[in-house]
């Protein structure tokens, strides 16, 4: 259960301001939002530590070269911005198991951690296959009226809604 009074801002307002931020990025930095490409760059960085030759010879890491770009810094900034926001309004909370997860799957942090890890693998594999995530397609492509954005965002929600309802429905029968 969320703390009472922990409402945050009106989502329409926070969303519209995010839209303004997208416009400013397009105008000033000439960049569009995206997040999943930088996970590839970071994975490449980590792999380089263990086997530099493997990364150099990889077809994919030659396309998405491991280096720090605007997007890597942007994604890092999300972590800092959310930290600042939550620390200054009292909503920061160290928590290992989300409430809705605990209601359905129990309070074990290990179980939650394992499934978050597995979910993360599946999600990122899908994002890279699709060519991007809700930032790249959902925001970056959609604001440019791209057909790809509409197809992919539709599939994100279709897959997510169907699977979420499958895994949560079982709990109601118990």
């Amino acid at each position: 259960m969320d703390n009472k009074g922990d409402k945050g801002w009106n989502p329409y307002l926070a969303g519209a301001l995010t839209g303004v931020l997208i416009i400013l990025s397009a105008g000033i930095a000439k960049q569009y939002f995206g997040a999943s490409t930088c996970f590839v760059r970071m994975a490449g960085f980590i792999e380089q530590i263990f086997s530099a030759e493997h990364v150099v010879s990889s077809e994919y890491f030659n396309r998405v070269v491991p280096y720090v770009d605007w997007q890597v810094m942007m994604v890092l900034g999300i972590l800092i911005g959310a930290f600042i926001s939550s620390m200054t309004d009292g909503s920061f909370q160290i928590k290992a198991v989300p409430d809705m997860w605990a209601e359905r799957f129990g309070p074990s942090p290990l179980k939650r951690g394992m499934f978050a890890f597995i979910g993360g693998i599946i999600l990122m594999f899908g994002a890279r296959l699709a060519g991007g995530c809700p930032s790249g397609y959902g925001l970056g492509a959609m604001v440019q009226l791209a057909v790809s954005g509409l197809i992919v965002v539709g599939c994100f929600f279709a897959g997510g809604i169907i699977f979420a309802n499958i895994i949560f429905r079982r709990s109601e029968r118990k």
Partner: protein, 175 residues
């Protein structure tokens, strides 16, 4: 301004707004997928409706480049659906996982590590996929105004009208 500093500052504002909108949380993300709490849908549509108006103006003025992700129908649909399954399990997306970690939701750290593994895994199988799935239905970098052969602003009016209609309906339903 240095492009990396610009990226960091943009991200800080983005993370701030995501957290203020409360959209980084598992409960909000799953609330949307379970069709119980549409906070992220409200946030998302407000962002893209605002963004598409401004970005279209910048395109017309020649200030911003057009960087359109191409359509690869096979990969877009299969990848999108796989993403959806993973999303329903983890309850965060790549950007919001960082935001969730920022507000102390440490389970997101496991998710982020999984995402790095998923990216590495994809790099391994990419040669196979690039010869198969990625060749299915390549349509290039096309936009909705191009496909329908109508003015950008007409498409935007449809989106805005649809979005406002959706907002009205969501508020009426109390979602």
């Amino acid at each position: 301004m240095n492009i990396l500093v610009n990226g960091l500052i943009t991200g800080i504002f983005f993370g701030f707004l995501l957290q203020k909108g409360r959209v980084v949380r598992y409960d909000k993300q799953m609330g949307a997928l379970r069709l119980m709490d549409m906070t992220i849908v409200k946030f998302y549509f407000s962002a893209i409706l605002t963004g598409m108006i401004g970005v279209t103006v910048l395109h017309k003025l020649g200030i911003s480049p057009s960087l359109i992700l191409p359509v690869n129908i096979g990969a877009n649909i299969i990848g999108g659906l796989i993403f959806g399954i993973g999303w329903a399990i983890i309850g965060y997306c790549p950007g919001t996982a960082l935001g969730a970690l920022g507000e102390g939701r440490i389970d997101a750290l496991w998710g982020i590590m999984g995402m790095l593994v998923g990216a590495a895994l994809f790099a391994e199988v990419f040669p196979v996929i690039s010869d198969t799935i990625l060749t299915w239905g390549k349509e290039g970098s096309i936009t909705l105004p191009q496909v329908f052969g109508i003015n950008d602003w007409f498409i935007i009016i449809i989106f805005v009208a649809g979005g406002l209609g959706l907002f009205y309906w969501l508020e009426k339903k109390g979602l």
